[in-house]
């Protein structure tokens, strides 16, 4: 079994109003040094052994479903194999 962590965030060119609201809240708490907040999604996939190339498969999953590349960027980390 392999764990894959996928991170999906809005593209830089896309305004993130949630991030702006959180940044404003942090500012009102006194953390003036926070210059930007971007909110995204974190997906943790557990993937069983298969014939498929893991890297190719995860990239396909991201491109087709997990992220909408019109508005979102994604990156992923393949974690070390874990014995169940």
């Amino acid at each position: 079994m392999t764990k894959v962590n996928v991170f999906v965030t809005l593209r830089e060119s896309v305004l993130d109003p949630q991030g702006v609201a959180v940044k404003d809240a942090l500012h009102s708490m006194g953390y003036a040094e926070v210059s930007d907040v971007r909110i995204g999604k974190f997906l943790e996939l557990t993937i069983d052994e298969s014939e498929r190339d893991l890297d190719t498969a995860v990239r396909e999953m991201c491109e087709k479903l997990l992220a909408n590349t019109v508005i979102e960027d994604y990156r992923y980390e393949i974690k070390e194999e874990e014995r169940a």
Binding site: L10, S13, V14, L15, P17, Q18, A21, K41, L65, L66, N68, V70, I71
Partner: protein, 228 residues
């Protein structure tokens, strides 16, 4: 003319859509469940609003992989009119039938009220009964209706008259170029956030949406007149 009203788990404007075409317009309509695999007997496809699959992941992202969507794509390719309203618009963009995407409203609020729409292009099969510049009162009800596309796509849409409706005056969600509804390149797929199906009877506050459905039906009758 026979319409298919697509139903996903979580659709909630399906009955309004059905009511508009069946009871108000007097055309034929049938509900089609998302796991069905045939739309060949229908002349037009209506993808209604709601929260398909609970809006999980992204609005429309799961619905887009429903069995029936392959058929919706086929219907679009065959030139049949396909109308996606609200969540239906989101589903059509996720499916790649329309460019761009719908983001969270600029003010992060779910907006449910009447807006004023401006008809930007009255030369489409969805708007032929209107005149360019007509202002319509149509309700919106969405939290993620902020239409986004890159600059290049926007210029293309604008130059080719594919921006069919814009918000007049107040833009409720922050959409690019005040866009409320867009058309595909071929001109037979329309996606819009406002709900014309909720504005087909004076009793309910406005019947400004009626002409959209009348336009679709009229165009269909004219193009099928020889076979009648």
């Amino acid at each position: 003319m026979k319409f298919a009203v697509i139903q996903f788990p979580g659709s909630n404007c399906d009955l309004d859509m059905y009511h508009a075409v069946k009871d108000v317009l007097g055309e034929e309509a049938e509900y089609v469940w998302h796991d069905e695999a045939d739309l060949s007997g229908f002349d037009g496809v209506l993808v209604p609003g709601g929260f398909s699959f609970g809006d999980y992941l992204r609005c429309g992202a799961i619905a887009r992989f429903s069995n029936i969507m392959k058929e919706v794509v086929k219907a679009a390719e065959a030139g049949k009119p396909v109308l996606g309203v609200c969540n239906g618009f989101q589903v059509l963009t996720e499916a790649g039938l329309l460019p761009g995407a719908l983001l969270r409203n600029r003010d992060l609020k779910f907006m449910c009220r009447n807006v004023t729409l401006k008809v930007e292009n009255a030369g489409t099969m969805f708007t032929a009964e209107y005149a360019e510049g007509d202002e319509l009162t149509i309700p919106i009800a969405h939290g993620e209706g902020n239409y986004y596309c890159d600059d290049e796509t926007y210029s293309k849409l604008k130059e080719s008259g594919r921006i069919v409706f814009t918000y007049s005056g107040d833009n409720p969600n922050g959409s690019v170029g005040d866009i409320a509804g867009i058309l595909n390149e071929k001109g037979n797929v329309l996606g819009m956030m406002p709900h014309p199906e909720r504005a087909v009877e004076k009793l309910l506050g406005s019947d400004d949406g009626l002409k959209m459905f009348q336009s679709i039906v009229k165009e269909w009758r004219e193009s099928h007149a020889n076979y009648a």
